[in-house]
Point group: C2
Chain length 344, copies 2
DNA sequence: CAATTGAATGTAATCGATTACAAGCAGCAT
DNA sequence: ATGCTGCTTGTAATCGATTACATTCAATTG
């Protein structure tokens, strides 16, 4: 039994022995200091220090019927959009002594079965779901599985009663369109996210509504399919270039697509904003430094993550009552990629 | 006791009862199918199906003296550079039935103490460390703490004996410089990463060595301080602009800095590559779509993550012998941001 | 046919912390 | 002095799965 052997690390009984008290007292001194006299507490703490004791989580969790972990379900981990949100989540959760487990829902490997395992409450005490594309039934509790509380963040499942932290996508899209309208644009296109995605739908609604409000044409061939990714922005640009009758301003449903769009236009000698104005959505870091810098709808990603984490904690600790879904505001950030149309 | 109560989910004894066997047999059927007759196995599996049994990890881990989790120590989670690596790690690890826990080492909250908790082996069965800036002693085993095996990925601690998955930073930097030299540049600058960082040091070594090999000047005022971030690239550009005698080609130690650099130059009417050639490092997704598209050193981030994860698994499962540190190759990707100097 | 072997299964100890319950004890009122 | 209250502390059951050890039983061998 060398020093790497887990069995050699001190147990609660070792602390109890050095402190000359029972294990119950040690446990109480550590987790409910009020239940122990000041003197004993000091003795116990000294013994903890001396032995180098660290609680065994498996044992604690088993006894307490919890897991000490929160699972974050991320659609496509490699998308940097989520890193900022994860950061917000992690900052709150590790402060609260929870482990943050991440799982990629797009992972091909027997995804369904594996995710369902994560949903079971002996794997996590709570879930934060960033993927609105999962089948709703896996969150249901129609069967014998005990499910931990879950919070949606960014995306959500339409009609689900679960709590969520979202932004006002309809308003965000409308702000983008209104900005273009105010600049004098009347021929406005839209690069959409992946079909069926809630964000895509809401932003599209906001776009269409704002166009109609301004009495501008809503033309189907000016709504380009995308999937939020850079390459899909490139594809949208190709589609734009292929049109005979082109919009002179385009609202892209993500900054990544906006960058891909502008990049491809540039390759073909089309200038932004001189020939086309472009608005993005998200305000990712590069937006401020792209050439041209990108006008976009800012969403507070770190705050989204933090808020979702705090909400989940409230749900886990407190009762079910006080917690409410939250919709965070967005704002328009005007930069260089938009200007008045060339021929006013 | 409603259906949300954890106590209502089926235990191994419930399965044993429905199957008409002992708990030992159920356990064996599930984890060591070979030790059980085919017939019993089938019966047990049916019972598992019927009851909807899912193993309780806390109990299993307690008994097996493991945690079922791997901790990834990330410096600054919000840096999208790491998302790709995390993705590689997660794909391998969740396939191997390990939980992936993430911890941000830059988290201000009592960082030291908290990270050390993660290093203890009752929190994780292994570590993947992406931060080379941690004090080495926390990995040491000079004290009574039992430490789980750890693997460095990307960064590492100089002189540490821990295994690592890295790329050839010296060669990468040299490739960047050689490329500029071949284009005919003789006045070459370098935007560095954060001081003391291993990557900064190696890439700087590679840069200096390649310049000397080409008999070109190595000028201290052409080495700009940075920290891998976009804004630091902007700052470097400001420093470049402030020089009277400027390099006409610059190798940036990260793509983010290269983008910030180019962006700021563009704001001041300096054109890339016409006035300055720029090379980056990393080949992040935007590199291919920036304006101009960025010449850079490609590093295989997903592969780095996967490799580190597989190495760690080998270390955990097998003995200590066969596993070796790995250095992955990098390649130069030539794009638009570099060209021959204006006045050859 | 008795003895031996090995595969399949069962019994019960075990992992380490938490906590229900019991007990001890000082202080105080009657 | 007796009994009561309330604060500390201890004893031992408990969480749920794994596995060392014991047992059963059929097959094989001399």
């Amino acid at each position: 039994m060398n020093r790497h052997d887990p069995r050699m690390s001190p147990k609660i009984v070792d602390v109890a022995r050095t402190a000359g008290v029972s294990t119950a007292t040690v446990s109480r001194a550590l987790t409910a200091p009020g239940k122990v006299s000041a003197k004993t507490r000091a003795i116990v703490m000294a013994a903890v220090e001396e032995t180098g004791y660290i609680v065994n989580h498996a044992a604690r969790n088993l006894r307490r019927q919890q897991t000490g972990g929160i699972v974050v379900l991320v659609p496509n981990l490699s998308n940097p959009f989520f890193s900022q949100i994860l950061s917000g989540i992690a900052s709150v959760l590790s402060g609260a002594a929870f482990n943050v487990l991440i799982a990629d829902t797009q992972q091909p490997k027997g995804a369904d079965r594996q995710i369902i395992q994560y949903l079971h409450n002996n794997r996590a005490d709570g879930l934060i779901v960033l993927d609105g594309g999962l089948p709703e039934h896996i969150f249901g509790n129609g069967d014998r599985q005990a499910r931990p509380p879950a919070i949606f963040a960014c995306e959500w499942i339409e009609g689900s009663e679960k709590l969520s932290v979202t932004i006002d996508n309809v308003a965000g899209a409308a702000m983008a369109i209104d900005h273009l309208v105010q600049l004098g644009h009347s021929r406005i296109g839209h690069v959409m996210g992946p079909p069926d995605n809630v964000l895509t739908i809401r932003r599209q609604e906001g776009t269409t509504a704002a166009l109609e409000r301004a009495h501008l044409p809503v033309r189907r061939e000016w709504y380009f399919e995308g999937d939020f990714s850079l390459p899909s922005g490139v594809r949208a640009a190709k589609a734009w270039l292929a049109l005979r009758d082109r919009p002179d301003a385009v609202f892209c449903s993500s900054d990544a697509m906006a960058c891909g769009f502008m990049s491809e236009l540039h390759r073909h000698g089309v200038r932004v904003p001189d020939d086309v104005s472009v608005v993005g959505f998200d305000d990712i870091e590069i937006a401020e430094h792209f050439i041209p810098t990108l006008t976009t709808i800012h969403q507070p990603r770190t705050t989204i993550g933090e808020t979702a984490a705090r909400m989940l904690l409230a749900r886990i600790n407190g009762g079910e009552d006080p917690v409410q879904s939250i919709r965070l505001p967005v704002d328009l950030v005007v930069r260089e990629s938009t200007s008045a149309p060339r021929i006013a």
